[in-house]
């Protein structure tokens, strides 16, 4: 495979630095007023109106079993399209956009910072850190 350069949006989930293909990202916004959904699975923070679309906000930390994401001025929603619908991923904070050479991406270890390896496509090194490449589809695959 030719060396493909992928731009990655990176962000922190708990203490783990994760990244995803920036083309998957619709937009990143600050927390907006959400409508809570009683009886929803606990990782669902609520739903909000994104220009006429109903978006489900998911606490990525909870979803990946990393514990609840603390809401503060740094926390952001990453709106992604997954399986034909908009989903917002609540993360602790956003980090840089980095370029990754796809052939430098190594297969994921069994776990990264306590996250199950199955949610990752691989890991790659930047100058000073290790980024886990999140497999967004996988995250939503096992509904609960």
């Amino acid at each position: 495979m030719a060396s493909r350069i992928v731009e990655m949006a990176t962000f922190y989930v708990g203490d783990a630095l994760c990244g995803m293909d920036i083309l998957k990202v619709q937009e990143i916004n600050k927390l907006m007023e959400m409508t809570t959904v009683p009886q929803a699975p606990d990782y669902v923070m609520g739903i909000l109106n994104l220009r006429g679309q109903i978006v489900t906000i998911i606490d990525l930390g909870k979803k990946l079993n990393l514990g609840e994401t603390q809401l503060n001025s740094m926390s952001r929603n990453i709106i992604v399209t997954a399986k034909d619908e908009y989903v917002g991923l609540l993360v602790n904070r956003i980090s840089d956009v980095v370029e990754a050479q796809w052939d430098k991406v190594e297969p994921p270890p069994a776990n990264i910072g306590g996250i199950q390896g199955k949610f990752f496509k691989g890991v790659f090194k930047t100058k000073d850190s290790l980024v886990g490449v999140l497999d967004v589809e996988k995250v939503f695959e096992n509904g609960n």
Partner: protein, 1087 residues
């Protein structure tokens, strides 16, 4: 096939489908009229059939052409009153029309479709019709007698000598013929067209492969021969040889075929056909050609242009008018026809009126103006201007919405119109008499809804005919009109469309329904007791409920009303039944006008807004705090409110969805968590909710607030007006209940948006919507809320869903169902043994047990029954030290043994999901969970073998000739049983080849063909079952000698018989080791 080009074909098809739609309704009308034939109607159908036929011939659609031709024949006879349209005849015609429709749907393969059946039946009628008309239909003749102006009678007039004749001639061609003017007049009054036709028998008839004879017949079938230059009989017998061209035949011919269609019959140049107008002048059909036609030699088949391609003047109006003015009887006919035609137009296309489009355009323009105004006001910060612009836009938006909605609206008549046929066919096949009344055909609904309600409505109408209306005898006995009535009614009410299907049949028997539901385990006896009559009737919506005593092809397959209900639920509609025994049933359906935008009531609970669709909304109720005590009562553990003398169950929204409700302090405007647990909040000692409250109190985070609330509770805070109860009375069709919410807000029109995947499991919501302030509000699904809150009738339906799923599951797992005897040895360890192995159970006292020779026995029927207990063999808790013991008697190796046990004993039948590993030890096969207890399956055989090894030494293992162990092919899909039975057989010294299903077994058999001496197979297996496997083995020469033993858990008589048929040699119970081994041994040694 010579299909010309797509466009022409498409046009033809569209037109034909329109014709067919008309044909159906018209045929039904014709049937209804019976002997009192409505000429116009028959003519219309005839014409429709004829145009279909003509087009088909042109397109090369021979099958369609042949079929319509036969239909036309019959219609021709009906028209000429040779035949009375009896239901049978109309039936055949309708069937043929159906087939035509099917042919049209798949026009490209239509020529390959076999329609001989229809042709045959049509022909039989066409031939036999004469007979029956002569023999069996005296009324018809009477009919003719009293209507002297009819065509046959007038034809009789023709030969009469005293008739004055006039000459009709086409000046330009010099063609002329004498005819009887009154006859022509009569024919025209019947709506027929009269044509003067010049036919060259050689080029127009013979050279086209027709004989003069068939040509004349064709003509007579399609119309009336008024006059003919050569006597018809002469023409018939004429043989036209070679080039000898006889004189052209001149014919005055009356037919219902319109000028543009008539040439389908003659297939001659247009110029040779002249239409005779009422004033006895003629008009040439090929009028565009100015030169006299007679000069053209009438012998070029190439000139024979197919009628569709001939440019023609639109003439029908011109023809119809004089006819209409002449006879009063005909007056309504053209208008009728015009009306019909107009209707067809709107049905066939989704055309939008230009006026509507114009309106939309204007509104769009206004919207733009409004926006400009708004933008300007905003930029200049002109608050007043913005207000005005906002109001304007509000107005325009509503109008725009309405106008756009209109473009999507279709009349429900589109759906209703098919029901007369449905009812007719069904009532005929069920031998019932049913009359269908349609009302409100003009009610309009969104296109998507129209499309979606077709099936549910059909189902309901069919149900009404099949289940509702009784057979005429029964009706008469009940003192009713033998003719049953079904009313289908649509009307607007409260912004919704209501559809009612009412019958005056036998009605629903609530008690019977309850009984049925209980039999099927859909509801419990307790539930049944508390059900209202209405709830009982609504039981028929439960999944898996069917009242038909026998399954007919009409209904009774058990997937009836629940499917209807689900379909309607999907549309946001609700369905409701009222029924009175012996009087009939009424089914009411409420549908929203459209799916996209629905009016909703907005409510507030726990600081969030929720929307309740107006469809479900019955009324809003506010109970002042000081009345709450009196009006709200507890029945059982449910709270109900008294509403106009009825008790209405209450559900607190915050409880159901698990939020906390908010109480607004009326003085300070502060919001507090509402701590009232019970709605009426009567702190009676009996209330179980008191206990709840104490648990709440212990929750640390609201401890302080809780105390305050408790303090306040002792005061009269709920007498403030703001603590009044807000109740939304909602209805789900089957029931009404009150939903208690914190606040009632406005009612709004909302746009439904779907919820994301992660929220699909939240049953309480039907979707979400965006409110004016941009926030999202959830739309409540009141049906599911009631279910979540456990209100009776709906609980039953969830139970029904469960049960029907369980049943399915059970069906699937039936193969592994086992009857087990449950018992205990120590108090807290549950054991199970296959019931089939248990001989009997005895009660004994501990003192009866004797210890003889190191073994425990009990004297029993003059002998000694050896006793043992589970803990002797397996490492389990010792037998409980009690006085009263049970002895479970098994027969092992021909001897009785008793297993000591204690109660309670129970027999259960369940599908085993046996874990053959975790708890397996000697004497224990494995474990399973029964009634929430881990249960050990005892292996009696192994126990006895361990304790009394010498009992088992008698049997020799059968070996094959080489002294090698005999191989057994064993097919079984359940892991547990496979391992278990395999070990039985291996213990006996056999080699076992395992297969997981029949297909694998079959492959293995072929692989190891020479080695296998016997096949043991389970019956129920995936891919290939035991029957099929056996069948294959027995029908293959190489294997047919192999004995096959089938293993079952429950051998039913039917199965055994079926098994014997396919060649199963023996049946054995799966876990009856001894018998199985004996059977194998028997087969092998007997070989």
């Amino acid at each position: 096939m010579t299909i010309q080009d797509d466009e022409t074909l498409q046009m033809y098809l569209e037109e034909s489908v329109e014709h067919l739609a008309d044909i159906e309704t018209d045929l039904l009308a014709i049937e209804e009229a019976g002997a009192d034939i409505d000429e116009d109607l028959v003519n219309k159908v005839y014409r429709a059939a004829h145009s279909i036929k003509g087009g088909a011939g042109f397109m090369g659609l021979t099958t369609i052409k042949d079929l319509t031709h036969e239909m036309e024949n019959i219609l021709g006879k009906i028209r000429s009153r040779e035949m009375v349209p009896t239901p049978e005849i109309v039936n055949v015609l309708l069937l043929a029309a159906d087939t035509l429709k099917a042919l049209m749907d798949d026009v490209f393969t239509s020529n390959e479709v076999d329609i001989s059946q229809h042709i045959d039946s049509l022909q039989t009628i066409a031939e036999g019709g004469d007979l029956s008309a002569a023999a069996g239909q005296p009324e018809e003749e009477e009919e003719e007698a009293v209507q002297p102006q009819e065509c046959e009678t007038s034809e009789k007039d023709v030969p009469a000598d005293d008739v004055e004749k006039i000459s009709i001639s086409a000046a330009e061609t010099g063609v002329s013929i004498d005819a009887d003017p009154t006859m022509i007049k009569n024919l025209m009054e019947e709506g027929k067209f009269v044509y003067l036709v010049q036919i060259d028998l050689l080029s127009d008839v013979v050279n086209k492969g027709r004989s003069p004879m068939t040509f004349m017949e064709d003509m007579e079938q399609t119309g009336t021969l008024v006059a003919c230059s050569t006597p018809p009989d002469t023409v018939r017998s004429m043989t036209v040889e070679g080039q000898a061209a006889p004189d052209p035949l001149i014919v005055l011919f009356a037919t219902i075929l319109k000028p543009e269609d008539v040439n389908v019959l003659f297939e001659i140049p247009e110029q040779k056909i002249h239409q005779v107008l009422p004033d006895h002048t003629v008009r040439c059909l090929g009028a565009e050609t100015p030169e006299p036609v007679s000069t053209t030699p009438p012998s070029h088949p190439s000139e024979n242009v197919p009628p569709e391609n001939v440019p023609m003047e639109p003439v029908p109006e011109m023809v119809a008018e004089p006819v209409a003015t002449k006879t009063p009887t005909e007056k309504k006919s053209p208008t009728q026809q015009k009306k019909k035609r107009k209707q067809t137009d709107t049905e066939a296309s989704l055309r939008v009126h230009v006026s509507l489009l114009d309106q939309l355009m204007t509104l769009a323009g206004e919207l733009v103006l409004g926006r400009n105004q708004l933008l300007q006001s905003m930029s200049s910060e002109d608050q007043r201007g913005a207000d005005i612009a906002g109001q304007r836009i509000d107005l325009i938006t509503s109008e725009l919405q309405e106008a756009i909605m209109l473009t999507r609206m279709q009349s429900i008549g589109n759906v209703f119109n098919k029901f007369p046929r449905v009812v007719r066919d069904l009532s005929q096949s069920l031998e019932k008499q049913v009359e269908l009344h349609l009302e409100g055909k003009g009610v309009e609904l969104d296109k998507t809804i129209i499309e979606a309600i077709g099936d549910p409505l059909t189902h309901l109408v069919r149900n009404a005919v099949d289940h509702g209306i009784e057979i005429p005898d029964v009706r008469q006995q009940a003192g009713k009109n033998p003719m049953g009535k079904i009313y289908l009614k649509a009307y607007h009410e409260a912004g919704q469309v209501n559809i009612e299907i009412a019958d005056d049949g036998k009605g629903l028997d609530g008690r019977m329904l309850v009984q049925k539901a209980m039999e099927k385990g859909l509801i419990s006896e307790d539930q049944a007791k508390v059900m209202s009559d209405k709830e009982k009737i609504n039981l028929i919506f439960l999944p898996g409920f069917s009242t038909a005593e026998k399954v007919t092809d009409v209904s009774g397959r058990g997937v009836g009303m629940d499917v209807v209900k689900t379909n309607l639920d999907k549309l946001g509609g609700i369905i409701d039944i009222d029924s009175e025994m012996g009087k009939g049933s009424t089914i009411r359906i409420k549908l929203p006008l459209t799916l996209a935008i629905i009016p909703c009531q907005v409510v507030m609970t726990g600081n969030e807004r929720y929307a309740i669709p107006q469809v479900n909304l019955e009324e809003l109720l506010r109970i002042p705090a000081n009345q709450a005590k009196d009006r709200i009562e507890r029945v059982g553990d449910a709270e109900v409110v008294r509403l106009r003398g009825n008790l209405l169950p209450l559900i607190k929204l915050s409880d159901v969805i698990g939020t906390s409700s908010i109480y607004t302090d009326p003085n300070s405007g502060e919001k507090h968590m509402d701590r009232r647990k019970s709605i009426s909040d009567r702190r009676s000692k009996e209330s179980p909710l008191i206990a709840d409250e104490t648990t709440v109190q212990t929750q640390p985070q609201d401890g302080i607030e809780e105390k305050q609330v408790l303090e306040r509770k002792s005061k009269d805070r709920r007498y403030h007006s703001n603590s009044a109860l807000n109740i939304v009375v909602v209805s789900t069709g089957a029931m009404k209940y009150g939903l208690v919410v914190d606040e009632l807000n406005d009612s709004e029109e909302i746009v439904v948006k779907p919820l994301g995947r992660d929220l699909k499991n939240c049953k309480g919501y039907a979707g979400a919507t965006i409110m004016g302030d941009g926030r999202v509000a959830l739309i409540l699904d009141v049906g599911n809320l009631a279910q979540m809150a456990g209100l009776t009738s709906i609980e039953a339906s969830s139970r029904a869903t469960d049960v029907s799923q369980e049943n399915l599951q059970a069906l699937r797992e039936q193969k592994d169902r086992q009857s087990l005897l449950l018992f205990r040895s120590a108090e807290n360890e549950q054991y199970a043994a296959p019931l089939s192995m248990v001989e009997r159970i005895e009660k004994i006292k501990t003192t009866d047990i004797e210890n003889v020779g190191g073994k425990r026995v009990i004297r029993y029927r003059g002998g000694s029954l050896p006793l043992f207990c589970v803990d002797e063999v397996a490492n389990v808790q010792p037998l409980a030290d009690v006085n009263d013991l049970l002895v479970i008697v098994f027969i092992v190796s021909g001897r009785e043994v008793g297993l000591l046990a204690i109660g309670p004993v129970d027999a259960v039948e369940l599908s085993l999901e046996m874990d053959g590993q975790t708890l397996k030890q000697s004497g224990i096969m494995g474990s399973t969970i029964i009634n929430d207890h881990t249960t050990l399956m005892v292996d009696v055989y192994e126990m006895v073998q361990t304790l009394n090894p010498h009992w088992f030494e008698t049997m020799d293992t059968v070996t094959d000739n080489d002294g090698k162990a005999t191989k057994i092919l064993f097919a079984e899909d359940s892991n547990f049983f496979r391992n278990q039975v395999k070990s039985f057989m291996e213990d006996e010294g056999y080699t076992v080849i395992e297969a997981e299903d029949g297909a694998i077994a079959w492959d293995l058999l072929q692989e190891h063909a020479d080695e296998i001496s016997i096949v043991v197979t389970d019956i129920e297996m995936p891919n290939m079952d035991g029957f099929e496997l056996t069948k294959r083995i027995k029908t293959t020469n190489a294997y047919s000698h192999l004995p096959v033993i089938a293993l079952t858990t429950l051998a039913g008589e039917g199965d055994i018989e079926k098994g014997h048929k396919v060649g199963i040699n023996d049946y054995q119970i799966k876990l009856d080791r001894e018998k199985l081994v004996h059977s194998i041994h028997g087969f092998l040694s007997g070989k």
